[in-house]
């Protein structure tokens, strides 16, 4: 790590002022990603601003509209095992528990989960070009080993994927990110929080320097009746997704009233295609209809030398996970949803 200074802050105002002081002042909460990035010199900091003492960011509260507010500093483990989340938002609970390890979930925070960086090997290896780490230097993954990389929404500048599981569920649930900054407070729909790489792959999301995530709001509808999270990866636990799918449905007399399908591991942000969800409305929940929805979601997908398999894998994972969400008895060994 480079040498940096350190300050603890106890309220949001102080955090914003400290961060705003210099572009190389960085917020730290759980530290599971930023401390690792500092060790690899992928990130450098002049000052770490420790926001952990900010009590108002560390809670889960019920909202008047029936929704739930997740504090940015609440840990991933405490969120996943919270009785309200387990009961009303089991898709979120399962997605969180499909990610990382128990130790990391004990440390990592909800806000930090949104802020984590890609695990692209070239991003981590400072001896190689990477437009995300060093804008303008090039992308090593496009012509390199790209097994874990994007098949949707990528650009000629960057084919990295966003690695979170939790955020796939938050995207499916239409969460909202609450932000505080030098110019006051603002809210972003989850779909507008993370960015596609386009010409600016160094920007993972739309948070401006000096701003902090204060909390994440879940709408009242948690799809607790019909949901499933499926994560496909190179080992059965403690590994990032090659493809993951969050599926959630509301049914009315056997037909689909409301559908949500979000993919992880395939793009620079959790991937949702509203056209596919609209297609499923008023339809029977059949394999054929889910296959058609998968085609819509994967329209325009393309791979590289080592990740072409993800297109067919994603297609099959969507069908399987949607069926598992509606027919739990179809969860045969090896095809169980991820916990």
């Amino acid at each position: 790590m480079n040498n940096f200074s350190y300050i603890k802050v106890s309220d949001a105002k102080q955090a914003i002022a400290e961060l705003n002081g210099d572009i190389r002042n960085k917020a730290v909460a759980g530290g599971t990603n930023i401390n690792d990035l500092l060790k690899y010199f992928v990130t450098k900091a002049d000052k770490l601003v420790d926001i952990n003492p900010i009590q108002e960011f560390n809670s889960i509260i019920r909202l008047d509209d029936g929704g739930v507010r997740l504090g940015a500093l609440h840990t991933n483990a405490d969120t996943a095992y919270d009785p309200i989340i387990e009961e009303r938002y089991p898709l979120l609970s399962k997605a969180i528990l499909a990610g990382a390890s128990a130790q990391i979930r004990n440390m990592a925070t909800n806000g930090g989960n949104l802020m984590q960086r890609t695990r692209c090997y070239y991003f981590y290896d400072i001896s190689t070009p990477c437009n995300k780490r060093d804008p303008g230097s090039g992308c090593s993954a496009i012509s390199g080993y790209n097994r874990i990389h994007a098949i949707l929404g990528q650009s000629e500048n960057c084919i990295a994927v966003f690695p979170s599981d939790m955020c796939v569920a938050l995207a499916a649930l239409n969460a909202q990110v609450n932000i505080s900054g030098p110019n006051g407070e603002r809210k972003l729909p989850f779909a507008n929080f993370h960015r596609l790489p386009s010409e600016t792959p160094h920007l993972d999301n739309n948070l401006i320097h000096g701003e902090v995530i204060t909390s994440i709001d879940l709408p009242a509808e948690g799809f607790a009746e019909n949901y499933s999270y499926l994560k496909l990866r190179d080992r059965s636990s403690y590994s990032f997704a090659l493809v993951s799918v969050a599926s959630a449905f509301e049914l009315e007399q056997g037909t689909i009233k409301n559908a949500r399908i979000a993919l992880g591991g395939v793009a620079h942000k959790p991937w949702r295609v509203l056209e596919a969800e609209d297609f499923l409305k008023q339809k029977e929940p059949t394999r054929e209809n889910f296959s058609q929805a998968a085609k819509i979601i994967l329209n325009g997908a393309f791979g590289y030398e080592h990740n072409n398999f993800k297109i067919e894998l994603a297609h099959r994972a969507i069908i399987r996970n949607c069926l598992m969400a509606l027919y739990p008895e179809s969860q045969r060994p090896g095809a169980k949803p991820s916990r």
Partner: protein, 161 residues
Amino acid sequence: MDSTQTHGINLSINSSDYHLQILPWVTLLDVLRERIGLTGTKKGCDHGQCGACTVLVDGKRILSCLTLAVMKDGAAITTIEGIANGEKLHPIQQAFIDHDAFQCGYCTPGQICSAVGMLQEAKARNREEIKELMSGNLCRCGASRGIVNAVMQVMEGGSNE
């Protein structure tokens, strides 16, 4: 900004109190091993991928390699050296011996601290769930089956003290 400024922190480590002057970028793992001399906690990957550095902070299992010591001012740390009760082994330690749950032993301190933390969390109910909730601790010798057996023995024995 003077980056070389140290910070005074208090840590309770295995029930002994320490006051330390710490530079901001020093990890809890390095403090335990290099400053306190508790070398039971191992540096495996140093990047949060292997679990060898697992310790309990305020009763919760965490990775000391990804933890900056300066951020844990006031915390109570338990390392492998603090798991036994005097000369009496913790049931998990005894179960690791009973089930031959290690070969080279390098991952063992982290495995044991992680297992103790997992039992306190009380989320694992069966073999499959133990495997899932212990997946942050890698054993490259292949003792994983013995490790799961050891944890099962303590769970079925109904004691996590």
